[in-house]
């Protein structure tokens, strides 16, 4: 996978907020058609990197490049048609229905003089179907459970119909069944050709679902490659400071991180 050409590339980024520098000299190529997971301990800069890739944060130095052209040089709506994002926090206006909310993901395809088209309606229907939320379409978003609501936000990102989908900790706050359900959904989307980049908290999710893992610590990339090469006992200890053994996942054969019990 890592040999495939990359549409989205970060070149020597310096990232930060106001005067605080979070990461320096970051270079990343997102393998096209792959499922990339960005992992690392809290405050390692992984979400910051994703925000830069999504154009939410402009780098202090370096460039994010999409299709050979600096991200900032793409008109915002053109960029949004190529790169979608599921942010960590989003708010739904009071009383909005699921279908309306998902429809707002069509914004980059619309213009004020040419509002909703049948193409938009078809994209919304497809997004609802892919996320298994068709039955919820006329419900109000504020009546839904946490798991349902997260699927609706995913549907909104899908309605954008971008070839590259960025996910910022998409399974946080969900129980384990909903987490797995959502990860399976992202894997299915990836098989259908969507390039997925996800910041993940759970190393085992990364190892199981991702074709490419980027491990970060202190604003630097410590390792990058296929899961089997990156998720090793040595690296987990180096990046997370966690002593562990890595065994084969009995279901999938992918690496599975098992923390060591404290030695007595």
């Amino acid at each position: 996978m890592s040999s495939s050409p990359a549409r989205l590339v970060a070149e020597e980024l310096t990232l930060g907020y106001e005067r605080r520098i979070v990461a320096e000299n970051l270079s990343v190529a997102v393998p096209d058609g792959g499922f990339t997971a960005i992992v690392g301990p809290n405050a390692c800069g992984k979400s910051t990197l994703l925000r830069a890739l999504a154009r939410l944060l402009s780098p202090k130095a370096g460039t994010v490049v999409l299709d050979g052209r600096a991200a900032g040089d793409h008109p915002p709506k053109d960029f949004a048609r190529q790169v979608g994002l599921l942010p960590q926090t989003a708010s739904a206006p009071d009383g909005i229905t699921v279908r309306e909310l998902v429809g707002r993901g069509r914004f980059p395809h619309q213009a004020w003089w040419r509002p909703s088209t049948s193409e938009d309606a078809a994209a919304v229907d497809l997004a609802l179907e892919q996320t298994d939320t068709t039955a919820l379409a006329d419900r109000r978003v504020d009546e839904l459970s946490g798991g349902q609501r997260q699927r609706v936000w995913v549907a909104m990102a899908l309605a954008q119909q971008a070839g590259i989908l960025l996910l910022d900790e998409p399974t946080t706050f969900l129980d384990i069944a909903h987490q797995v359900e959502l990860m399976d959904l992202f894997a299915a989307l990836n098989r259908r050709g969507v390039t997925v980049v996800a910041v993940l908290h759970d190393l085992n999710h990364a190892a199981r679902y991702a074709s490419h893992v980027i491990a970060m610590r202190d604003g630097q990339i410590r390792a990058s490659g296929v899961a089997r090469e990156v998720v090793t006992a040595h690296l987990v200890e180096e990046v997370f400071g966690l002593r562990c053994v890595v065994i084969d996942d009995p279901e999938t054969g992918t690496p599975l991180v098992v923390p060591r019990a404290p030695s007595l």
Binding site: E18, R51, A54, L56, A80, L85, A90, S91, T97, F107
Partner: protein
């Protein structure tokens, strides 16, 4: 689809009720007329005196009330959406107080008349809005900071206003205080045309920016991810919101609480997603026409409409705060 249809139907209904209320109000006064008389007088110039009373004497005031209400309603909906806060209306975040400051300076310091007060109000309002915007700007303007800074600036402006009134001559202070209460008693046909033009222009511009407003409701990150140019869009919306409150305030004085209450009432009636612009205009128009009817005809001596809206608004604010507290 059903929710959208319901929103459209209730919006149409609200607009109709506002127009009906205006027609009924046209019949009130020293020369009372029935609804059918009013309608005939409106469409048929040969009704003579009736036509003069309705079209020349009463219509400018009622139409102005409708238009000012609509402008304030839309302005409130824009500000409250941008700040994501039901308290984030232009009167709460300093605009009206700043407009009053401008008018007071024009009248009491520069010794200008009502025309000067109009210009002063626009300058004062826009200046205050600019100060609030700059003070609240920190890598973009966030809703909560805008409200807090606005409340702070409002408090300072109020103090300044009191001082300006205290040091003015009695007659000047009296005139300024009446302007400050907000009244339609001096509005004429020109005012109505200016208001109509403002609303038309703002509506046309809003057609282009409203989709961005709907995106901003989802948060800045989502808006950017969808390709919204967040800061330019927010600035454009702020400008439209400020114009929609500046022009009415300059013409009739600050009228409280319409911008605060109309969007929330409209959202509850139409059960729309977010704050509806057109329905807010309809509710604003309806409430202000009724309030002016009460101010002019139901209260002895005819009080400025601003005092009526303050009373309605005070009740509304108590209810809003109580409802918000219960929700927590």
């Amino acid at each position: 689809m059903t929710t959208l249809l319901r929103t459209r139907l209730t919006t149409a209904l609200l607009l109709t009720v506002a127009l009906l209320a205006a027609i009924v109000t046209l019949g009130f006064g020293d020369y009372p007329m029935s609804v059918s008389q009013v309608v005939r007088a409106l469409v048929d110039p040969s009704t003579g005196f009736d036509h003069t009373v309705v079209v020349e004497w009463r219509l400018p005031r009622v139409v102005s009330a409708l238009l000012v209400g609509a402008c304030l309603g839309v302005s409130g909906a824009i500000f409250q959406s941008l700040t994501a806060n039901p308290l984030g209306s232009p009167d709460v975040i300093g605009f009206s107080t700043g407009a009053y400051t401008g008018a007071l300076i024009a009248m009491t310091v520069l010794g200008l008349g009502l025309g000067g007060a109009t210009v002063g109000a626009i300058v004062g309002g826009l200046g205050t809005a600019a100060i609030v915007y700059v003070l609240a700007f920190r890598q973009g303007v966030l809703g909560f900071r805008l409200v807090v800074v606005g409340v702070g600036v409002t408090a300072m402006m109020s103090a300044l206003n009191t001082w300006l009134l205290m040091r003015a001559q009695l007659e000047v202070a009296l005139g300024a205080a009446i302007w400050g209460a907000g009244s339609f008693s001096l509005t004429n046909a020109t005012d109505a045309w200016v208001l109509g033009g403002t609303l038309l222009l703002a509506t046309a511009t809003l057609r282009a920016v409203a989709p961005s407003l709907r995106q901003l409701e989802l948060g800045d990150d989502t808006s950017r991810a969808h390709g919204v140019r967040v800061e330019p869009a927010r600035l454009a919306l702020l400008v439209i919101g400020v114009v929609l409150v500046a022009v009415p305030t300059a013409l009739v004085g600050p009228i409280a609480f319409i911008a605060l209450a109309a969007p929330q009432v409209a959202a509850r009636i139409t059960r729309s997603a977010g704050l509806p612009l057109i329905a807010s205009a309809a509710v604003g128009a309806l409430v202000l026409v009724l309030a002016d009817g009460v101010a002019q005809h139901a209260l002895p001596g005819g009080v400025p409409v601003g005092t009526v809206t303050v009373v309605i608004g005070g009740c509304y604010l108590v209810w809003l705060l109580a409802a918000e507290t219960r929700r927590r």
